[in-house]
C-alpha cells in the first residue's frame, strides 16, 4: 500500500519536472542534428585515439610507417580538438533529450528497461570520456585510476553504446533526418522556451569558441588565440614546450656528468661500442625538421641535428632496419625506455639528436642526446639517452 502511495505521489512530481523541462527546441530534430555531429566526432576521436594507442603500443603484427612525418601530429591534434568540441555538442544533445528523463512511467517493460539501461551507459560513458580527456590534456590527474587503460576501454564502450543507440533510435533518426518543410506556423507550436534555432546557434557558438581558443596549441598560426590551451607553441627552453623536465626525471647530475657515455649494443649483446659526446659530434651530422607531437594534443615543429640512428647501429654491425630498445638515464616516471621499430630506424630523418635549433640541446630537451623520429608520439622520443640496443 505504501509503495502505491509513493508512486501516486511521485507521478505528479515527475510530470511537473517534465513540464518545466519541456521547451520547443528539445525535439527530435534538434537531437538528430546534434546527434549526427556527435556521431562524426565520436568516430573521429575513436579512430585517431585507436591510431595513437597502436603507435604507442607498436604491436609486431601492425605495419607502421614513419611517413608522412606530420601524420601523428595531425591525428592527435584532431583527436584533442574534436574531443574538446564534443563537450558543447554532448551537453547540447543531452539538453535536447533531458525531458525524457522524466518520462512516466519510467519503465514500461523489459524492452524499455533495456533501452534505458543502454542510454545510461551511453550518457555516463560519453560524459566521463570527454571529462577525463580534457583533464588529461590539462595534466590534472584527479581521477582514482590510470588514464590510458580506462580511456581506451571507455572508447570501445562509448562507440558500442552509440552504435546500439543508433539501432534503437533508427526510426526516429530516419523520420527527423531532413529538416521539416516550412508550412507556416503550426497550431501546436509551443510559444515559450528555447527554440531549435536558438539551441543550435548556442551549441555552434560554444563549439566554435572552444575549438578556436584551444587549437592553437597544435595549429601554430592560431597560437595567439590559444587562450584556453594548456600549451603555447614557442614557449619553453629553446622555444619549445617541455613535458618532463630533467629535475622531474632525476637526471640533473647524470645528464651533465663528464662521464656520460652512450652504449650501442649489438643483437644479443654480441658487440658493444661506447661513445662519448665528442665521438658522436665527430660522426656525420644530419639535420631534420620534425615535430614534437604530444599525446596531450600540443605539437610544434623544430630543427634537429645529430647522428642517424641507422648509422649508429651500423657501428655494431646491425642492419639499418633493426628493431631497437632505447634506454634513458631517467630514474623516475614512465617511458624510461622505448622501442624503435625497423621502419623508423631505417628512416633517414630518425636521429639521435644532439642539437635543437642549431644549439646544443637544453637539459630539459634531453641533453646530451635524445631520439627524434618522424611520426612518433612525444613520449616515445626518449630523452637523456644512455643506451641503444639492437633487438633480436
Amino acid at each position: 500500500v505504501s509503495s502505491t502511495r509513493l508512486v501516486d505521489r511521485a507521478e505528479p512530481f515527475v510530470r511537473s519536472l517534465r513540464r518545466r523541462a519541456d521547451t520547443p527546441g528539445r525535439g527530435p530534430r534538434t537531437t538528430v542534428v546534434l546527434g549526427r555531429l556527435l556521431g562524426v566526432g565520436v568516430l573521429l576521436c575513436f579512430a585517431t585515439g585507436l591510431f595513437s594507442h597502436l603507435v604507442q603500443e607498436q604491436p609486431a603484427w601492425l605495419p607502421l610507417a614513419p611517413r608522412p612525418v606530420w601524420l601523428y601530429r595531425v591525428t592527435q591534434g584532431v583527436h584533442v580538438g574534436v574531443g574538446l568540441a564534443l563537450a558543447p555538442l554532448l551537453l547540447g544533445k543531452l539538453w535536447s533529450v533531458h525531458p525524457r528523463l522524466f518520462a512516466w512511467p519510467p519503465v514500461t517493460g523489459v524492452r524499455s528497461a533495456l533501452e534505458r539501461l543502454s542510454v545510461l551507459v551511453l550518457v555516463a560513458t560519453a560524459l566521463l570520456q570527454v571529462a577525463i580527456g580534457v583533464m588529461n590534456t590539462a595534466q590534472w590527474y584527479a581521477f582514482p585510476f590510470s588514464f590510458r587503460p580506462v580511456h581506451y576501454a571507455l572508447a570501445w564502450v562509448l562507440l558500442g553504446s552509440a552504435v546500439l543507440h543508433v539501432a534503437v533510435k533508427a526510426p526516429v533518426i530516419a523520420r527527423h533526418w531532413r529538416a521539416p518543410r516550412a508550412s507556416g506556423p503550426s497550431v501546436e507550436a509551443p510559444e515559450e522556451g528555447v527554440g531549435r534555432r536558438t539551441a543550435l546557434t548556442a551549441v555552434g557558438a560554444a563549439t566554435a569558441a572552444t575549438v578556436l581558443l584551444s587549437v592553437g596549441q597544435s595549429v601554430t598560426p592560431l597560437a595567439p588565440l590559444a587562450l584556453l590551451a594548456p600549451r603555447r607553441p614557442g614557449l619553453g627552453p629553446q622555444g619549445l614546450p617541455v613535458n618532463r623536465t630533467a629535475r622531474e626525471a632525476g637526471v640533473l647530475q647524470t645528464a651533465r656528468s663528464a662521464d656520460w657515455r652512450l652504449e650501442v649494443v649489438g643483437a644479443a649483446g654480441a658487440r658493444l661500442v661506447v661513445l662519448s659526446l665528442d665521438d658522436l659530434r665527430s660522426m656525420p651530422q644530419t639535420s631534420a625538421t620534425l615535430p614534437i607531437s604530444c599525446v596531450e594534443g600540443w605539437s610544434q615543429e623544430a630543427d634537429w641535428a645529430g647522428v642517424r640512428l641507422r648509422e649508429l647501429v651500423a657501428l655494431v654491425g646491425a642492419a639499418p632496419d633493426s628493431d631497437l630498445l632505447v634506454s634513458s638515464l631517467q630514474v623516475r616516471g614512465g617511458y624510461r625506455t622505448s622501442v624503435v621499430r625497423g621502419p623508423y630506424t631505417e628512416d633517414p630523418a630518425t636521429l639521435l639528436a644532439l642539437t635543437l635549433g642549431g644549439e646544443q640541446l637544453d637539459l630539459d630537451h634531453g641533453y646530451p642526446a635524445r631520439v627524434i623520429a618522424p611520426g612518433r608520439p612525444g613520449v616515445l622520443q626518449t630523452k637523456w639517452v644512455r643506451r641503444v640496443e639492437v633487438l633480436g
Binding site: 518545466r20 525535439g27 590534472w140 582514482p144 546557434t201 584556453l228 622531474e248
Partner: protein, 182 residues
C-alpha cells in the same frame, strides 16, 4: 507490397545487426577494462555514476534556470534571447573546459611551459563580455519591442511584455515547433 513495408522488412535485420555490432564493440571495452586491476575499475565505475548525477542534478537544472532568467531579461525579443543564450553558452563551456587548467595552476604546474595562460583573467574578461552582450541585446530587444508596440497603437499595448508569453517571438524567429520527445 508497399514501399514502406519493403523498407521495414529490409530495415529490421539491419537494425538488429547494427545493435549486435554495438553490443560487441561495447564488450571489447568491458574486456579491456577487465584487464585492468580491480581498484581502478571500481573507481572508474563510481566516476561514471558521478558524471551522470552531476549532469542531471546540477548542469541540466542550471541550464533550465539560466534559460528562464534570460527569458525574463529579454522580455519576448527572439533575437535578444538567441544572442544571450549563445553568449552565455560560450562562456559556460569555456569555463567547464578550463576547470582542469585552473586546478592545475592552483596546485602549481609541473613546469613553466604547462598552463602559461592566466585562465582566471581570460574567464573574467569572457564573463564580463558575455554580460555586456546579454545586457545590450536585452536592452535593444526591449527598445525594439516598445517602438513597434508604440507604432501599432492601442491594440499593441496589450502585447505580452513578459518572456513567459511570447508567441510573437517564436513566429518572428521561425522557431520550429519541436515536437515533444515523449
Amino acid at each position: 507490397m508497399s514501399r514502406r513495408r519493403r523498407t521495414a522488412r529490409v530495415a529490421a535485420p539491419a537494425r538488429a545487426l547494427t545493435g549486435a555490432l554495438g553490443v560487441a564493440l561495447a564488450l571489447v571495452g568491458v574486456l579491456a577494462a577487465r584487464g585492468s586491476a580491480g581498484g581502478p575499475l571500481l573507481g572508474a565505475l563510481l566516476w561514471l555514476l558521478a558524471a551522470v548525477v552531476l549532469h542531471d542534478a546540477v548542469v541540466a537544472p542550471a541550464l533550465v534556470a539560466s534559460g528562464r532568467v534570460l527569458e525574463v531579461l529579454c522580455a519576448g525579443s527572439a533575437a535578444a534571447f538567441r544572442v544571450s543564450v549563445a553568449a552565455l553558452s560560450v562562456v559556460a563551456v569555456m569555463t567547464l573546459v578550463v576547470v582542469p587548467g585552473l586546478a592545475v595552476r592552483a596546485e602549481g604546474p609541473r613546469n613553466p611551459t604547462v598552463h602559461p595562460n592566466d585562465y582566471a583573467a581570460v574567464l573574467a574578461v569572457a564573463w564580463t563580455a558575455a554580460a555586456v552582450v546579454v545586457l545590450l541585446a536585452c536592452a535593444a530587444g526591449r527598445l525594439t519591442r516598445r517602438r513597434s508596440a508604440g507604432g501599432r497603437g492601442e491594440r499593441s499595448s496589450c502585447a505580452p511584455r513578459s518572456g513567459r508569453s511570447r508567441g510573437a517571438r517564436g513566429a518572428a524567429a521561425g522557431e520550429g515547433p519541436g515536437p515533444s520527445t515523449s
